[in-house]
């Protein structure tokens, strides 16, 4: 029954898993924010996440070391970022197209490696929930906020850090200027290429973590195409959040809460066709984007390659 949704236990469950599910969105979308702020649209997030998810899972499975798995995912994501940076910064490739290329690469490669190295779906014991004495015991709140795995906390910490870096540091100033007017930045001795390399590699690294958060913290399995569009939603979240970390956080929470709701609807066997339930987050993505995107202005140099006359 629908009313089953409104019991306290279920509501706490929805909120707790909503916060947990927002982790991959946050990592990926914050990374993408840096890239777009510097003028680079990376549509390859999904591919970076898939490879990151696989790398983390495989290393965690074979070595039993989750942190080593996470670290490998970061390296893999960073390398994908490096390749993306080379293609967009040095070769001036059309960013939308090359991003899709990287997505397809990540999709195919992660599946190939999965088939070759594992073959069957296995599970690992992922990052455990952290028990914080006192806080975790608070009824409701404790379950929602203080009984999550470590990656959730890192993801939320990332939001103020990203805001701080973008708005309060000289690096942030350079990133913003390069995304708005690369000629101006260049004329003041700011290296447009170096800044863009940095943000794209950072974005790749964070996408790698986003993938890892799926495979070794949230779901604890690896499956073909397990991200199922999550990386693309992360890109949309950057628009939704108007290129601000706090906005991205709002978007990530919105989507993960709807996702969580949708999962609970299925768990409780509420008579809503499951196809419709699964569709909900995507439908909301489209609706919200339609409602918001036209009102905010993207970085002026977004998707434009930079080239000095000489």
């Amino acid at each position: 029954m629908i009313s089953d949704l409104f019991t306290v236990t279920v509501l706490i469950g929805i909120l707790a898993s909503g916060i947990r599910l927002s982790t991959p969105y946050l990592f990926a979308a914050i990374g993408e924010t840096f890239g777009q702020k510097s003028g680079v649209l990376n549509l390859g997030v999904e591919g970076q996440m898939l490879l990151g998810a696989f790398a983390a899972f495989y290393v965690a499975l074979t070595t039993g070391n989750l942190w080593l798995g996470l670290f490998t995912a970061m390296i893999v994501g960073a390398l994908m970022g490096l390749a993306m940076a080379y293609v967009t910064v040095n070769l001036h490739a059309e960013q939308g197209i090359s991003g899709i290329g990287f997505y397809l690469f990540g999709l195919g490669m992660s599946d190939l490696l999965f088939q070759k190295l594992m073959g069957t779906v296995e599970t690992v014991k992922g990052f455990p929930e952290i028990y914080i004495p006192g806080l975790s015991d608070i009824p409701g709140i404790g379950k929602i906020f203080f009984s999550q795995n470590i990656l959730v906390y890192i993801a939320y910490l990332l939001v103020p850090i990203a805001w701080f870096v973008l708005n309060k540091t000289t690096l942030g100033l350079k990133i913003r200027s390069v995304g708005e007017n690369p000629d101006a930045a260049d004329s003041l001795g700011v290296s447009v290429s170096r800044i863009r390399y940095f943000t794209i590699i950072l974005g790749g690294t964070l996408s790698g973590i986003a993938g890892a958060s799926l495979s070794i913290a949230l779901l604890n399995v690896f499956q073909q195409n397990m991200t199922s569009g999550l990386g693309f939603i992360a890109v949309a979240l950057v628009y939704f959040g108007a290129w601000r970390p706090i906005g991205v956080l709002g978007g990530a929470l919105l989507f993960s809460l709807i996702n969580s709701l949708q999962l609970w609807v299925q768990v409780l066997s509420i008579p809503i066709p499951s196809d419709i339930a699964v569709m909900m987050p995507y439908v909301v993505t489209i609706l919200v984007l339609v409602a918001t995107v036209s009102k905010v202005r993207a970085p002026s140099a977004l998707t434009k390659p930079f080239e000095r006359g000489d």
Binding site: K168, T170, K174, L188, R308
Partner: protein, 519 residues
Amino acid sequence: MSETDKLPSGRARINSLEMRGITKRFPGVLASDHVDFDVKSGEVHALLGENGAGKSTLMKILYGLYHPDEGEVLINGKPVRISSPTDSINLGIGMIHQHFMLVQTMTVAENVALGLPSSRGALTDLDRVSKRIVELADIYGLRIDPSAYIWQLSVGQQQRVEIIKALYRGAALLILDEPTAVLTPQEVDELFVIMNQMVRDGHGLVFISHKLHEVVEISHRISVLRDGRMIGTRLTSETTKQDLANWMVGREVGFTPDRGQVECGGPRLQLKDVSCGSDRGTPGLRGISIDVCSGEILGIAGVSGNGQRELAETITGLRKTTGGQVFLEGNDITGFSPSDVTDRMLSYIPEERMRDGMIKDFTVAENMILREHEKMPYSRYGFLNLREISQHADQLIKKFHVKTPSRETHAKNLSGGNIQKIVLAREIFRTPRVIIAAQPTRGLDIGATEYVREQLLEQRKQGVAIMLISEDLDEILALSDRIAVIYEGQVMDIVPRAEATPAKLGLLMAGVHPEETPA
């Protein structure tokens, strides 16, 4: 080093800077051909030359944005290496670019701080930067609010930010590439006050302009470039405007084109009580009524920001009206889309041609058919007719003397003035019924200015109705049949050419009726 070698900013002077044998080739162009050029502390050295002569290129080489194929730069007699703007900034060279280099969405202080090391390490030190900006602004009389966003500033104020940016970095030598092209006469005067003070303090300045009276007024020496070659250098005190003009163009040039007598026909463009908003939410136009007749040039005079831009944009369909009607040859075109207005043969030469008039990454030929690309003969059944397009481009390039290696060159690689010519050629050539021309000669050299003015007069003779929006009173007076002065989005008065004097127009532009006649 004695005290007198120091500038007020505390930096050392550049007593002399010399460029020797500078050569720079671009695909298809020799932009600098063994050029020698020098600047001394305490002087303004003006650099003249036609559009595409190589002025900006030479200065971009000095600033480290372009690398010369040959040649060397010496500061105080010693050779220096300038391979990037960082090098030139460290050597004390600053540049105000022909197209401003500001980040619109950032504040003045952020623009100034960009790229500089911060006293707080990785964190920005905007408070400190703001304080220093105010100090520098005091020394040089440049009023500016460090916390304002660039997009909130007028063009003149933005230029001050550019100057502060350079001074902040300790520029001892400042290159000003066509700084006056976008300024109102009053702003030019203010700029000259600042420049004079900088010179007295021991800075060296390079000044590029196409306006000879400015060059004669502000400079100490004048050099002329033609086709990438240095023609010569003279003392300003030993030349006159007319000398300079002939020297520069290589032929006699007249200054006032012959207007001739033209009978005005019926009204072709009519505005009835038109109102609209502006980008800042304040009213842009407040009930404007104007007629422009066939065979007439109606000048729109006014200090920039009094509704000129909004006026052009409402007529061309780029901006929504909030009241009133616009008629083109008797038909109501209020609320028409820009392409519908275009179809009715209205041509528009926008003020910000780089932004509103062309696509920088398109070729010259493509830019020349932007407006008509869907029409015969440039396209047929949705396919572009490349042969027609090429012929059309070649014809316009020839007629309007557009200096470009080929019609396939990307527009962004042309010189500033030649970029302007693409738009002018496209808009004038299509035999329009009405032309809206905003600052049509801005950034053009003397020869090209003369040519465009002749073209506008020729169109007038053909019966075209022309609205000429210009901040240049000389231009307004030289071309217009009647002059409408706008102030704060309203028409102050419409004065026939014969009764218009600079003094009378000046008062009207300031919002004062000379002899309190009811409007």
